[in-house]
Symmetry: C2
Subunit: 195 residues, 2 copies
């Protein structure tokens, strides 16, 4: 079966560009024209390689998750005590959210739009977030076994609290315009985990 001429573009690079557009603009606001321009491909190549706009968004979410999870995994498994790894992750998010033109989180930015309109995609987005929660929960459990944790902290509860907090910080980073806006909430949660 003929597979046609070789592709004139790198699908991985094109996908990374699509990730950036969906991240900054959101699924619904990102027009096909914007996507094609950023990806530097034509409409036919888009459909042939990625399928529909919604298929492209699915691929973009998977790609974004892969990148973010790699960073999170690296931070949470670094050669430090478990609570120091949690601290490093929170400081990483604090730094990210303090960028002057922070894009926030691709998942968070798209939660309002999918909401109850598209339950399948919403469930998928929540699934990605829960993977982050699981990684945090495991690390908090290790910290508890090490005796590093405030005894009042319950790892599963605290993991969801940290996930909600990080989503709130990423969201507020879209409008805060204060580079120091997230030092306080991160300091507060660290103080309480360690107390």
């Amino acid at each position: 079966m003929s597979r046609g001429p070789a592709k004139q573009f790198d699908p991985q690079e094109a996908l990374d560009q699509a990730v950036d557009v969906f991240w900054a603009r959101g699924y619904e606001s990102a027009s096909l024209a914007e996507l094609l321009q950023a990806m530097k491909i034509g409409r036919k190549s888009l459909y042939d390689t990625f399928g529909s706009k919604h298929d492209l968004f699915q691929a973009a979410m998977a790609r974004y998750a892969e990148t973010q999870f790699a960073t999170i995994h690296q931070i949470l498994t670094a050669d430090r005590r478990p609570l120091a790894n949690i601290r490093a992750l929170l400081r990483h998010w604090e730094k990210d959210s303090a960028q002057p033109n922070s894009k926030g989180c691709l998942f968070g930015n798209n939660m309002p739009g999918f909401g109850p309109v598209d339950a399948a995609t919403s469930e998928q987005i929540f699934g990605y977030v829960k993977q982050v929660e699981d990684a945090i929960c495991s690390t908090l459990r290790a910290a508890r076994q090490n005796g590093e944790l405030n005894p009042a902290v319950q790892p599963r509860e605290a993991a969801r609290m940290i996930v909600c907090l990080s989503q709130g910080m990423a969201l507020l980073s879209r409008v805060s315009g204060e580079t120091s806006a997230f030092q306080a909430p991160v300091a507060a949660v660290l103080r309480l985990l360690e107390a």
Copy 2:
């Protein structure tokens, strides 16, 4: 000066309908047709009474803030100990976020869209959020004076943490589909404030 015939609609009621549309759909996605249909008015009445779509959004934000702040104020000044008022506010948000078709927060839902695109509106949105933070901070200070608070809690830091957490919960409520999704983070933060 002639003021023309009396208005055939109640501007306050029409504005409340606009609040609901912007809340569920977001500023950019809400079309003029949707707004007019929900507000049960014509295009000319909209422009004559509220100005542009952006003016209408400003009025909708002010109206939404007024309603939300009234509820928050009522909860935080109820005849209970200060920390019990904080607990009641967090439980109120938890209950709100657990609604099956939770709309989340009008401000939060619109943060991704305004982001760096419209700095003036972003600043306005952040300003509303900071008013909530101030109210929480005052209540935490009162709780500290009462000796109810974990001594490790710093009211200003913790107030921003609670605001970020509540925004994260409202955001995640758009996709979680779990009515119990926010019991854990609220339990975690209350446990730590009281510890």
